[in-house]
Symmetry: none
DNA sequence: TTTTAACCGAGACGGTACGTCATGTCTTCTT
DNA sequence: AAGAAGACATGACGTACCGTCTCGGTTAAAA
């Protein structure tokens, strides 16, 4: 069901032009220096067409980000080789790599700072990331079942330990997002929630 | 002799009025809706007096935050009762509590999102927090010496594990900043960097 | 078909409000103390609406003056009773009287001093007054044909002699603009360009 | 008696620097674009030193003009060769030539437009020009005694006829200030106030 | 000779207006 | 009905000057 949302007459052409222009402009000038007028001008679109379909610049950018991820849909299953540590390292390294892409960085950085102030936008973003979050939790659960993670572990806390340091370091630029850093975080988090030592028969 | 820096004639009166007005306005209306003009008007000051001494709104807010901490100077020693876990829990709970104060939240939230975009401001902020960061590291080192933390532990990583989840949860409002959450983070981080089991004589 | 010039959508409402506000404010406070912001505020109009259509305050005032004259259009024919001296006295007296009106004085005084510095504005003003100037020249030509003025007279010089003294006295306030003064100027100018004495048969 | 006016301690050095800077800046950028701050900066003088001795920019410019004329003092006697027409032509040509000097033009143009709005300044200027005006009147009186001008002629009106057209043409740039134009004005004015035809004995 | 106070340069201050820019709403005409 | 275009009222931006004010430093008169 790929029917148009919200209207029977919405121009797909304009929608794409707006999101493309947004991506390009934010990459070029940074989130803060891009305004609705500039987007409209670059997209060759009337301002009203933007205001009609999005409530704020943040919402446009959110959709621009969404559109990026929607190229290959449904790839939401995380790797599950049976090796939790290896799989998580791969995921965190990939996340760190994403942040290194200037276009993605500019988009997601602006969006993130907007989320901090706009509750509605934050909710919309949460909806967008819910699936991915669930996939992460699933992978942890799978590891738990495989005895690679304590059965008592609160998976949300594990996720926090894994991703929050990465997020903070990226957002505030307090350090480089190296693969090593990703690995270190995974090792620390898994150590914190290691399964209990099996009692070995002596 | 801490003679006036940068000018021989800067008005202390105006400086304080500006920082006070900034705090009040950001608390009332939120960072984004406060402009230089409003600050100047509320402070009873010409706009140029702000532009003369600060390069951006972010810089003013940074100073407003700085001024908050400078009331009681030099209180930078963190508690060191000998109980690392207990001391850290106290610190994280206190940090969480700070974020609960609406005025401080509004100020620091706006400032933080500005840091994400303004490298110069981020550097200035880093300078401001350097002392506190060092104090935290000191406390961890002290715990290390007391055998409450692995001698191999990278203290910056420990700090990341402790504070980044709190930071992220606060900034993106993805969960409540309860004392329990603070405690959980401390326990997890210490577990991740627990000292090696002493070999017990059998 | 005098369809809208320069734009398809200019607001006549705003235009009139701006010119009215300009007239009122200049009359109240004098040309120099009136700014674009004040005009916009009084007119209930955005500043940009002024900047969009006029290049300078002087241009706005010029249009405000223009609008005054355009109430009754096409009344440009000067009196021509056959008595050149009488007609000119009437015109100069009327001109002097105009300058006595405080609103008109304030507008035209500010405009005039602007003309002295702004070549473009001077050109625009010249265009505005061209018709009137031509009408004056016509009346002189008519007098010339009637033998009341030397056939050799350079009409522009005659106009200078008639109006420049009035202009200077008004602008610099070096004397009162009485009807007597107007009459004196007319008499002097006509004496300077009197037709040659007819050769009387002796 | 060239004692300092208004104060026993006024710095002649600063006074000259201010007037020189004023002349230079007005010549370079035009009257309107020169401000007190710029003059002070160029003169290497504190703003207060200007505000202490002059009430307005116009007053400074007036003094700058005054200083120009005071180089060779007392040259106020107009030529009196016995030939009124020739002498007046010389004076008007000289006046026209003065206006052609860009520095003088810029200064006097700005000053003149200021006079139109500032009564106090106009009075001060009148005082400055009083001597010259009187000299002009004297020359006319001398011509009157020599029978080159009607005994009834109102000399102020004659002066108006002579100089107002020149003034207006210069201020509003409605035509070139050629020697021919000067001559034409002199001839016209003298024709208007020619002495009565002597009754020739038949 | 020493005081002392006006004058000086410098420039920060509270203000006002500038001319530009972007906002979000609106109207008009086109598709 | 939706879109491109862009005028509109609004209001913040950062700059430029205004005229006033303080700050040391420097003179030249008075003591």
């Amino acid at each position: 069901m790929t029917s148009p949302r919200g209207s029977l007459r919405r121009s797909e052409r304009s929608r794409r032009a707006i999101l493309d222009a947004t991506r390009a402009l934010v990459a070029e000038h940074g989130y803060a220096k891009v305004g609705i007028e500039a987007i409209a001008a670059r997209a060759g679109v009337g301002k009203q067409t933007i205001y009609r379909w999005w409530p704020s610049k943040g919402a446009v950018v959110l959709d621009a980000v969404r559109a990026l991820s929607e190229n290959g849909e449904g790839q939401l299953a995380l790797p599950d080789t049976g090796d939790l540590e290896g799989d998580l390292k791969q995921v965190l390294r990939a996340t760190a790599a994403e942040f290194a892409d200037p276009t993605f960085d500019a988009l997601i950085r602006g969006l993130t700072t907007e989320l901090a102030h706009d509750l509605g936008l934050a909710a919309a973003y949460a909806e967008h990331t819910a699936e991915l979050e669930e996939a992460k939790r699933q992978r942890l659960r799978s590891g738990q079942r495989a005895g690679q993670l304590s059965p008592d572990a609160d998976l949300d806390i594990v996720l926090d330990l894994l991703f929050a340091p990465l997020f903070r370091r990226w957002l505030l630029r307090t350090g480089p997002l190296t693969p090593d850093y990703a690995d270190t975080l995974v090792e620390a988090a898994l150590r914190a929630f290691a399964p209990p030592e099996p009692v070995t028969a002596s």
